[in-house]
Amino acid sequence: MANTMDSPRTAVSNPPVQPMETNLTQKDLIRRSATSELPRPERQLTPVAKLIDVSKCIGCKACQSACVEWNDTNPAVGENVGVYTNPHDLTADMYTLMRFTEWVNPETDNLEWLIRKDGCMHCADPGCLKACPAPGAIVQYSNGIVDFVHENCIGCGYCVKGCPFNIPRISKADHRAYKCTLCSDRVAVGQGPACAKACPTQAIVFGTKEDMKKHADERIADLKSRGYTNAGLYDPPGVGGTHVMYVLHHNDKPHIYSDLPDNPAISAVVETWKGATKYAGLAVMGLAAAGSILHGLFAKANRVSKHEEEEAKELVDESVEHADKRVEDA
């Protein structure tokens, strides 16, 4: 107990310097992909959250740089196509991406420059984990972090289909899925995520989910007092809430922020595929196999009788005679 601690409360302060044991262990898993019987964790870590206040973001991309540095991903140098969003999309080497949108507010006719830091939302009900067929390739810790365990990943891309936010990317180099880890390796030893640590305006803050909601309330009150009447917290209930949340000045229309889903939820198609189809399909196939084995063992086989063999012989003999006769006649 001496060297372990609960979830960190902030990304700002420096962590303790003495060696620490990780507090995210196999015993702290609340969900594990393709695993039905998972023992309940003995302890409940305090749920954590990253709060991204888009109204405070200046688009400096320090978070992207910090992410690349901490995760040592080294994305290739890209190409400038005339927009600020760079690289052009999330990749297996780029777990977070500032997406820039130029939006004209129809009410004020003002051009608003919307910047949203995209990346894994760490859903309470993760679609990636539900879709994953490989045991233990995706896990969820009791503090809310959804993490990919790369040695168990088979590279099928089902997580890509399961995710309501289009986040996971499959590496062309090692054929495994990658996404933001919420710096689980930092959080495990009392530190906040690298992006939050690097953010110069504290548009990205980190702490317990409860604290982050309180902080968001203050920010929303402030935004409302400045005329953003629709300011609000993006913590979508369709996925059970998320452990990455946004403060949006236009929370009534999240889609204007580079297609942030208005009401994200795991697709009904994915639910059907990973629900009824999986269980009913296995049952039907099992029953058909068992049924035919039973029928094979107990029902009378369809056998050819001796009489039928004789009938065939007669038929063939007759045909030969006919043919011979015709040859003779000719």
Binding site: V270, K278, L282, M285, K313
Partner: protein
């Protein structure tokens, strides 16, 4: 030139020994149902289907994930499954091109299907005389053909490594749902196919040695037997 072609006598010995749809006079009487080409073709398809079934089921239900060990682990299973699918697709459709005409439905099939109780009860004598394929075999043929098309199309849409960007994610979700439903359906057809071949004794030799006994042909496909006998496709050699 002495005899015009249309009145040419049937020369029994003109049939090449072992040719498909020919009778070996015996005794015992044997009928060649499949030549070596079709048999090789069938078994390539069959082995591919079994491998696809094992690797697919491993990714379908967590309780069957252990099947990935047969292919060298999860990554190998994910990699090899679509390639086996490609092999099966081409192998099956070479077979399809040769067999589809004989599998077109006819009036006898309606009669046969309406008497399915007699089929299952083994009362073949009550059924109409049949050509090379009965309605059950035709159902398996067309079922396999249509499901293989569904599986290859949806499979390519879900093939992350090469076609991950071919269609949108919502489309890929539907593709995967359809792929798994079609997979369940083809496994049912496969079980029916294997079961029928075992239950109807004397059938499997058609796909191993290529021949069935005269009695088997008489009992199950009398029209086919009469047709080839009538055309004199009889190899008199022992």
């Amino acid at each position: 030139m002495s005899t015009p072609a249309n009145t040419a006598p049937t020369k029994v010995s003109s049939v090449k020994a072992g040719a498909e749809d020919s009778i070996r006079r015996g005794p015992p009487v044997e009928v060649v149902r499949y030549g070596p080409g079709k048999r090789i073709n069938h078994w390539v398809t069959a082995i591919s289907l079994i491998l696809l079934l094992l690797s697919g089921l491993a990714m379908f239900h967590p309780s069957l994930f252990f099947l990935t060990e047969l292919f060298g682990g999860g990554q190998m299973t994910r990699w090899i499954h679509p390639w086996i699918g490609i092999v099966l697709f081409f192998s099956f459709f070479i077979l399809f091109a040769q067999l589809w005409k004989l599998n077109l439905p006819n009036r006898d099939d309606v009669q046969w299907a309406s008497q399915i109780g007699d089929v299952i009860g083994g009362h073949e004598e009550k059924l109409p005389e049949l050509g090379k394929y009965n309605a059950g075999q035709k159902f398996i043929f067309w079922g396999m053909a249509s499901l293989i098309i569904v599986l290859i199309v949806t499979g390519i849409m879900a093939w992350e490594q090469y076609f991950g960007h071919l269609t949108s994610i919502p489309t890929q979700r539907i593709a995967l749902l359809v792929h798994s439903l079609a997979a369940v359906a083809i496994i049912l057809v496969f079980i029916l196919h294997v079961y029928a071949a075992i239950w109807t004794r004397g059938t499997i030799s058609a796909m191993t040695r290529g021949t069935v006994t005269g009695g088997w042909a008489w009992r199950h496909h009398r029209k086919w037997l009469k047709d080839i006998a009538g055309r004199g496709r009889i190899d008199p050699a022992e």
